[in-house]
Each structure stands twice: as structure tokens, then as C-alpha cells.
Symmetry: D2
Subunit: 300 residues, 4 copies
């Protein structure tokens, strides 16, 4: 933590800050600049509480956090990449995965039946803490939707469910806030979290959401957790799903989750962005080709 | 609902759209423009389902909703302004109200005691559906926080609690989405909803949130519900609370909710934006003066 | 143009609107809904002036433009894709192009010399109308930077320069505003405009700009002009340039423009995002592989 | 300037950074934290060039600028508030000013005539450097519009014009970028700059721009320059102009600039937001009352 004092503050204000830091069990080091004093706080990551307190002291211009607010999700403390296993499927392994489905689909028993018949893992969204234990019985993976990314009671409950969690990004969440939400699940002892970029809110009304593919390589650097992309909700338009799917794989994503329907115009939900099965096959083939392309060696 | 067809689409595409509209029980009227056809959908507000279906049909460029997606919250259908009563306090009446408090305060019994001693109404945040009935016993008003504005199970539970609801704006919610959330509470038969603007996310890192005061006169036109402003969370800085409080009243707000603490540097939460009791008194006096000023007659 | 009246407006307000439309030489058609009247305006694209006037009339809730505000840049009126030729290079043709260079480079004669020696086309930024004719003598292509996207005098001057124009997106411009800027160049008779996505401003301070790759397939649908991507300024970080370059090609971009430097730490400008020549070669090879991958046939 | 190293970087990377800092003529101080090293750079404000270079070095996580990038506009170095005089009018003095007018108005001689007849100062927008000297002959104040806030050749020319400059905020400019633009004018020796907030771009399509009134008290702390507000362009709707005008004054603005027209529906530009003369009088009276209200003493 770095504390930047205002220009022209007196010794008393500086001492007040230093005492507050000491009282919280931290050391400090003052850098006396020509314009202002800057204080480095020593001794491990300070609490949010200390940060807030110091920010509120007289003479303090700004407090800058240096250590990241998340630890368990951080690659600095956990360099090896996490691979999440769901049935026979690996997310975060060698090969990117393709997840597809209608989100309108109702009935947990129906889902369990589908899984039994096909062997395919089933992902189901949970929307309130009370649903978690029931859904966890039938689904192979729990999905936390964009609107619930900061629903902390739900995150904690999902963290204790014994099931892998697909954590969608809040549509106006920063990358750091998103990783903080993952931290809530990890803190319950659940190490199987998959992050899913699904578009952020921007100023251009031409699309419902702006797919933030830069988040993929950024997250690959910041966290050991797998990262997938939802180009269906992330663009809101069927015609954009295929090109943005391939772009996501080229950016390094560990997989895709897309909405598909044999008759999108009749789909109960996700109509405007659901693709036809034919397009799904194009994406399935295309992602294999693109993934191979980005792994080709550079010619000498 | 207006359906805008792509330039150069054939008759079959147009008929497919018209049939879909008819099948949903709506009439239609085609406006044949020089560049493209535009279809007006008749017979009341169409469902979101129809809107999504039509959007997904071949040849459709864009679907524009004409009727507002909220009804109960709309002033068009309920022109008289709602006044919410909490104890002896009126929100949305003649005089703007000032709500103040620390948000760190714990203990429902403690709150109930405080209310007994002072007669002041107590507002408490609820964060999950399960908390609602317990909190409703002790608090005079339930607060739904910014992160829970779209937590629909929580909104429905609050709607059935028998208590007035203070609904904070999601920090990246549009005005329309916010009114849609109010609609969830109103739909349970609870007419006592107070809207609270508390800052939206913008691109400038100089502030945590950008207080959107234009929301106040906009909402006064769109809805009959009272509107208050939270300049503490809405700016994130103590020095900005007083001027933005008075600006909120000048913009027509029905009240303010501010964080106050006798020693903000020691406050458990809301440190950087909590004001001292002295500043609270300045705001209390200032808001009376400003409210009087905006009601003064124009000189002939 | 569609005019949506407020619920409950009287006949006089409606007539005032209809007369204004007629006076501007347009026809109209009223759709009487259950809640409100909606007016369709006939007879070609209305002027912005008419749109603004009608918006200001009593009883008007909203005016919705149906026809696009740009024509020359629109694919609806010009379905064949434009290929821009610069020396031997084609932008918008079969093969994506890779443009690379330092932006600190000074001296027009130096540039002309470099071109003579290497045969490589030279792109130079113009920052004010007065520079255009001089720069056009030495450079093969004029670049309009992000901050000048709406500098209309500069756009017009570039349109009359006889040189192809590389038009970067304003970092907070909508796609429609960007195409409107291209329209200014095209309107001067210059058909050689290349659009360049270079990141938009968003709420997350983790990056300087959010690269909007969805703009690529969107533009491919809306306009006949070639679209390239600048992943250097569009991410602001060297480590993100290679993955986002490949993602741009996978999304369908006609090319890339990247900053490269043999010693980025010594580069006069563009330090944080300039890549080493080795990485440039990786991108050059990678883009060929990815471009081949997205053109592979789907397996039967 | 603070340099934050990545966790686990070796001595060589640290030394490379320290050498780069020393070579640029700065001192340094290393704070060895438990997780990472942090370097404080001493000896005055470092150049943007040094900042960029260090950011690009191996092992550097982030560079944080501590000193503000603007000096002349800063209140730290110029605590006394600037009052700009235009004719008999003072902007930034005791009384807030009201500026009103149509922006469609053409003809510099016409403007000069109007000024002669009425004595009122005339403000005219300049859109390219070449216009500055001609407009400066006829107008009392030059306006730089939102789209030109970062047109540096224009800013420099306006700085040498001998006329006060009204500098509108770019609709997606941060406060810091805005002050940097003011710095360009001030650097030419022109101390008469008035800042004008006119709305920023946000995610909610319900308004064209979001008026950022928090900018007013923020700027009052950061700069000595006067700050006025444009509620007409800043809201884009006539009905919002009066309440937001009074809110601006309550927030501490030094004045307002509003669009007025005797028949807004016929106005050539600014139709949707132009107000009637009657409303202008309401604002003129209201701002006097509100300004008096915010200066009233707190009751004991």
C-alpha cells in the first residue's frame, strides 16, 4: 500500500497517518519528494479496513493498493494452471471445449435423464442460495449468471456444493472484481472454478454487450483458473456468434459456451442469438483449426 | 412494437414476420418505405417473447419496443405521486427528508432499541431472500442494495414483506432496468417503493462512481415513486457529499441518505465518504434553504 | 423515421406533428395503438433537421430514425467490397495485410527515402488540415488518428488529397459515428478509406482501452470498406499484442497495424505496447495460419 | 512516480529499472515488501517518456504517477482562484453568470453588431486553427467545442489569440485529460480559461449524455479556473434544462450556458434541448435564489 499525501500538509498529518499504520501492525517508509511525501506500507497485504481508514485521514490525497485483493485465484501464488474435470471433459487442458445448449430448458429430472442417455455433462444455473443443494444433485456443474456475480451468499453456497462452478462475469464488473468473486468460491475449499467472459456494457447501443476478448489473455496472466467465452450473450446477435467464437479461441480461450436451437425463432429464450445446429458444426470444426493454427511453430 | 425489415428482403420473409405477429394475437400494419418495409404491431404491449422471436426471423433488421416494459411503476398509468409513510416520516411529500447513518451498524435488536429510544424509523439492508422476514420484524424499511437490484427472488420476497422498500440503483443499471426492478416489488402488491440514485460506473477513475443527478427529473417524469439520492456512495469522497447533497435537492430529489460518523477515520465501513456530524447539520440546513429557493415564484 | 407520441396527447398535438412532416415534403401514416399513436414518415430519408424539429414538438415522446445516416459507406447501397490499393499492397483483398512501424518516426524526406529503398508503402498521420497537402506528397496513405475522427475540416481535406485514408476509430465513437466520419471522406470523391479499430474507453482501469473486436464482423455487414485492427494501441500492453492480433484475424479483419521496436524500452513513444521484431515474426506467421484456418471447409 | 515490480523478479531486472531512473537524472528509493519490491522515484516530476520507458522494462508490473501531469491549471501551484473578465462580466467571481444563446447563429458581423447594440459579450466557437484570428477579431470569447477538446493545434492557436477561452469537456474525457487540454492554452500565456461541463457518454441510451455535476466540486478542488455547466447539451432534453441548471448552481458552478429559442421547434439546431424565453427567466431567477441558499449560514 502506498499513501500519497497532499502537497503542503504538515508534520502532524503525516504522523497521524504513520501512527495509524503502526497501530494496524504494519511498518512504513517515508519517501520525501520535492512536492509531497509518499509513504510505503510494509509487512504484507493491508486490510481493506486499514486502506479505508487511511484514505479518510486529513492530508491524504490518495491511497494506492499494491498487493492484489485476491490471493487464491492469483497465479502469483499458484503458478500451475487449474484443470477442471466434469465427467470425462477437461476444461483448461490441452484442447478447448465446446459447450452448447438452450437456456430455456426446464426440469432437473429431464436434465438428469439427458445426461444418462448421452453421457454429456450438464450445467445448470443457480439463482438463489436455496436452490444450490437441489441443483447440485442433478447437475454436473453449477452456473452463476452475470447478474449474480456479486451475490456473495450464492457464491459461498456454490463453494460448498461439491460441484465445479461456471462463474460468468458481471456485465459491468472489472476483471479484479470478477476474480474477487471467484475468491469467494475458492475460499470455501472449492478449487473448480471456470471463468466465463460474456460481454460488458459499453456506450454503443448497436450491440447489447461488448465482448471483451482482451480479458482472455489478461486472465491467463493473472489467474490459474480456466477461461471460456460466451459469444451468444456476449454479442446478442446470431450472425456474430461464429466469427467471435473463432476469435475467442485465437485469443487463447479454453472453450466456448454457445446457445443453439433447431428453430431459433421458436426458442423460448435466447432467440436473437441462438444459432442453428449447422452453424454449431462450423464452429466445432473451425475452433479445432484455429486452435491448431495458434500452436503452429514459427517458421525459421 | 415496430419491426424494421432489411432493405431488399423478399415477400416471403415479410409474410413470415406478419404470420408470427398474427399467431401471437396481435394485428399489424405495414408501412412500405422507399428503402425498406416497416411493420407496426397493434393490440397492446407485446410480450418479450414475441419481441425476441421476431428479432430472430430472417430479414428482420431491428425490433423497436414502443410501449414501456414497466406498467405499475409508470406515471402514464398512475399520474398521482406516491407518498411513502414510515412512522411519522413522509417520503415523496412536501418536504425532502434527510436519512443518515452508519452502514456498519450490526444487531437487529440494537436497531429496534435505537428506534424505541428515539422514535426514528430504521432502514436495514437485506441481502438474501431468507433474511427478509426476520429483518422485516425489526426494521421500518427494507433496503435493497445496488448489487442486488436485479436479484429477483429478493425483490419478490421484499414485495411480500409488508414493509416499504428502498431500492438502490444498480451501479450499471439503466433507468428502465431500475424501474423494471421496482415493478417486481410493486407486482407483489407492495406500493411503497422509494428509488435511490447512488452513482453509476463511468470511464473516469477519478471517482468510484458518477452520481447521475439527471436521473432525478427523468424519474419524476416517468414514475410516480419518490426518488432520493445517496451522495456518500454516489461520490465515494467526503468532501463531495455536501455540494452534491444540495445539488440533488435542487434537481428535485425527495430526500437524501448520507453516511455520517463522529470519527470517520475509525468507521468500520464507509470510511472515505462518511461525513462528520457538523457537516450533516450544514446539509440539513442547506437542504431546507435550497428547497425553499427552487419553490420561489418567478419575479414578474 | 418513426414518431412515437406520448400517451394521452390530444388531436391538436398530433396534427401539429403531421403538418410539420408534410411541410418538409414527406408523407405519413398513423398507427393508432391502444396506448398511443405512432407515426411512420414516408418518402425517403428525412433530414436531421426534421428529426430534431419533430422531437421538439409538444406531445412527442421519441423519434426513431429508421434509415441509416450514412449512405456512401453503406453496404446496402454498395454491396461489392472495396479493395484499397497502396503501391503493390491490397487492403480488403484475399489476404490480410500486416502493417508495422514506430509512430515516433520524424521527417517526411526520411520516410520517402525509406520507401524508395524498400518499396514499402508509407502511412503518415495528419493532425491538421494545413498538413494534408505536404504529407500527401510524401506518404502513400494518410492516417487520421483517434482524437481526430470527428475533425470534419481534416476529414474533408483528406478526402480531397488523392491519397487513401486510414481512419482510426475515436476511442468513444459509436460504430455509426465512425461510419459517418468515413462518409465525410467518401463525399469528397475519395473511395479509398480503410477503417481501423483501436480500442474503446470502458470502465475497467486494468487496460487503457478495450479492443472491440465485435466491430469487425459488424462492420463487414454494414459497410463495403476494409477493416483492420490496431492491437498495440487497442490494448496498451506488449504482452497482449500477439494474442489479440490473431483474434482479430479470426474475427475477419483485413489486416493489422502494430507497433514494433528493436528496443521497446528506448522507443520514444509507444513504449509500453511496442513489440520486439521476433514477436512481429510470430504474428506474421500466426496470422497466415489463422487466416487459413477460418477458410477451411467444414467436415461433412 | 512509483514503480511496482512483479513478484519474484530477480536482482537484474530491479537494477535495470534503477539504472534507467538514474540515467534520467532521478534518484530512487527501494521499498522491499514481503511480496514484491516497490521503487519510489525522487527528484521532481518525471517525464511521460521515462514513465513509458520504465513501464516497458522486464519485471515491471505497473508504474503509478504520483505528481499531476498538469501544473499551470493546478490549484496546488496557484491557490488563488482565477476570475475571467469578458467586457463587464466576471466569470469565477462572487455571482454566477448566465450565458444564453442559439448556436445556429451565423455571421460574425451580425454578432459584432449584436454586441454593439446590447453591450453583451459574444462567445463564438472556433473549429479549426485557421479560423482563430478572424473570429478573435469579432468575438469576446472563443469556444472550443467538445469534439475539439483534444485538438492540440487549435488549443495552442486559441492560447495565442488574446481572447478568453471557453473550453468544453470532451464527452468522453477524464477530468485529468480536460485539465491537460486547459494546460495547452495556459502554456501559451493565456490565463483566461473557463471550463464547461457538458455531459459525458454513459451506457444508458435514455439520454444522449450524462451530465457529470460531481465534476464541479472536484474541479473546484483541483484547479483555480472557473467552471460553468451546459445543461442543454448536457441533457439533450428541454424539460431537464431548468432542474439541472439549478442543481449545477447548488453544486457550486460559476455559471451556466443554455440554449434558448423563441420557437424551439423551428430552431435550426439544438431543437430538442432549446428552451423558451419564459423558462430562461425562471432559471435566471432560480439561480439567484439557489446561489443565495447555498451561502446562508448554518443555524446555531
Amino acid at each position: 500500500m502506498i499513501v500519497q499525501m497532499r502537497t503542503g500538509t504538515d508534520e502532524r498529518a503525516l504522523e497521524h497517518v504513520l501512527n495509524t499504520i503502526t497501530a494496524a501492525g504494519h511498518g512504513h517508509r517515508v519517501i520525501a519528494g520535492t512536492e509531497r511525501n509518499v509513504i510505503g506500507v510494509l509487512g504484507g497485504a493491508p486490510s481493506q479496513d486499514l486502506l479505508d481508514r487511511v484514505q479518510a485521514l486529513p492530508g491524504v490525497e490518495m491511497v494506492i493498493r499494491i498487493s492484489k485483493p485476491y490471493k487464491l485465484a492469483s497465479r502469483e501464488f499458484h503458478p500451475a494452471r487449474t484443470i477442471v474435470h466434469i465427467g470425462n471433459v477437461e476444461i483448461g487442458g490441452e484442447t478447448p471445449v465446446l459447450m452448447a445448449g438452450p437456456c430455456g430448458l426446464e426440469g432437473l429430472e429431464l436434465l438428469a435423464l439427458a445426461r444418462e442417455e448421452t453421457g454429456m455433462p450438464v450445467v445448470t444455473e443457480v439463482m438463489e442460495p436455496d436452490q444450490v443443494s437441489v441443483v447440485a444433485e442433478y447437475a454436473d456443474m453449477l452456473q452463476i449468471g452475470s447478474r449474480n456475480m456479486s451475490n456473495f451468499p450464492l457464491l459461498r453456497k456454490a463453494g460448498r456444493s461439491g460441484r465445479p462452478v461456471l462463474l460468468k462475469r458481471g456485465f459491468s464488473a472489472t476483471i479484479e472484481e470478477w476474480l474477487m468473486s471467484a475468491e469467494y468460491v475458492l475460499a470455501e475449499g472449492n478449487e473448480d472454478v471456470v471463468l466465463c467472459e460474456r460481454g460488458i456494457r459499453s456506450f454503443d447501443p448497436i450491440v447489447r454487450f461488448t465482448l471483451d476478448l482482451t480479458a482472455v489473455p489478461l486472465l491467463k496472466d493473472l489467474t490459474h483458473l480456466p477461461v471460456i467465452v460466451d459469444p451468444s450473450h456476449g454479442t446478442g446477435r446470431r450472425a456474430l456468434v461464429a466469427p467471435m467464437s473463432l476469435a475467442a479461441i485465437a485469443a487463447g480461450a479454453d472453450g466456448l459456451i454457445v446457445e443453439v436451437h433447431h428453430d431459433p425463432a421458436q426458442a423460448l429464450c435466447d432467440g436473437p442469438q441462438a444459432i442453428l445446429p449447422d452453424v454449431l458444426r462450423q464452429i466445432a470444426d473451425g475452433m479445432v483449426h484455429v486452435h491448431a493454427a495458434i500452436r503452429m511453430p514459427v517458421l525459421a
